[in-house]
């Protein structure tokens, strides 16, 4: 899996995930997510349109990221879920637990509205 870190707006960190997030990739991704949450000032966005697969270990690290964000009162938004990732989120019954946006603009508006 590849992770690109972007900042389209000051204080907002966007992580663009490409590939598969499984047990083999979580160890690499977890510190990247932790650092992104620590450094963001206004919000964290996970852009998932190119995330082709996610398993329970991937869900677990997304939950951790949300909890880290909640501790800092930071908005944390998942964007543009692929059908496979959507299926996993629904199987875990987390579709109402995460904030999910259809696209990056919508996510940015949610963050702007929260600050």
């Amino acid at each position: 899996m590849q992770v690109n870190v972007e900042s389209p707006q000051a204080g907002v960190t966007v992580l663009r995930l490409t590939g598969d997030l499984d047990m083999n990739e979580v160890a690499m991704f977890r510190p990247t997510l932790e650092k992104a949450v620590r450094n963001a000032q206004h919000g964290v966005i996970l852009l998932l349109s190119e995330l082709t697969f996610m398993d329970s270990s991937g869900v677990a690290v997304l939950i951790e990221g949300l909890k880290w964000s909640q501790r800092r009162s930071l908005p944390y938004v998942l964007v543009d879920l692929t059908s496979g990732v959507q299926m996993v989120i629904e199987l875990a019954r987390l579709e109402n637990f995460f904030t999910i946006a259809g696209n990056l603009e919508e996510a940015m508006a949610l963050i702007a509205g929260a600050s």
Binding site: D22, M23, F53, D55, S56, V59, I63, G84, M87, L91
Partner: protein, 144 residues
């Protein structure tokens, strides 16, 4: 197809680096058998979770052990057997966690039981466990 099921067998090291290869294999196989994209994604997820659980819980992360995968293809069902030679789980404790309790961990078993039609664990006499997961083939699946 009449008679004995078609059988595929594969021995894989207990390393997470093989997860992608296993998913790719099962994705191709299930698509070829006529499973829908949604069903294919679901069964691939279940196999991934089962394999990852063996690495984590039965082999405690030891990547040098052996996991045997067997696929039995029958007209009405596909059955995937995952056999390990590691520590046997307490079957009574293999249960999906309460989903209202949002926390990392414990979801893999829930996924397996949610997407497969039957999931059973056999503790084997010498060592290890045989996990057997079955998925019914819908009418749209090709008969082989």
């Amino acid at each position: 197809m009449e008679g004995a099921p078609e059988r595929l067998t594969l021995s894989v090291p207990s390393s997470p680096r093989y997860l992608l290869i296993i998913r790719t294999l099962f994705s191709s196989l299930l698509t070829d058998l006529g499973f829908s994209n949604q069903e294919t994604m679901a069964v691939v997820l279940a196999v991934n979770e089962a394999y990852a659980n063996v690495i984590e819980h039965c082999y405690k992360g030891d990547v040098t052990q052996r996991i045997d995968l067997t696929v039995l293809i029958e007209p009405q069902t596909i059955t995937i057997e995952i056999r390990d030679y590691g520590e046997q789980p307490d079957v009574a404790r293999i249960a999906p966690r309460a989903l209202h309790e949002v926390r990392p961990g414990g979801l893999g078993t829930h996924f397996m039981r949610s997407v497969m039609d039957e999931v059973t664990y056999d503790l084997l006499p010498d060592t290890g466990t045989l996990l057997r997961m079955t998925k019914n083939r819908s009418q749209s699946c090709k008969s082989t």
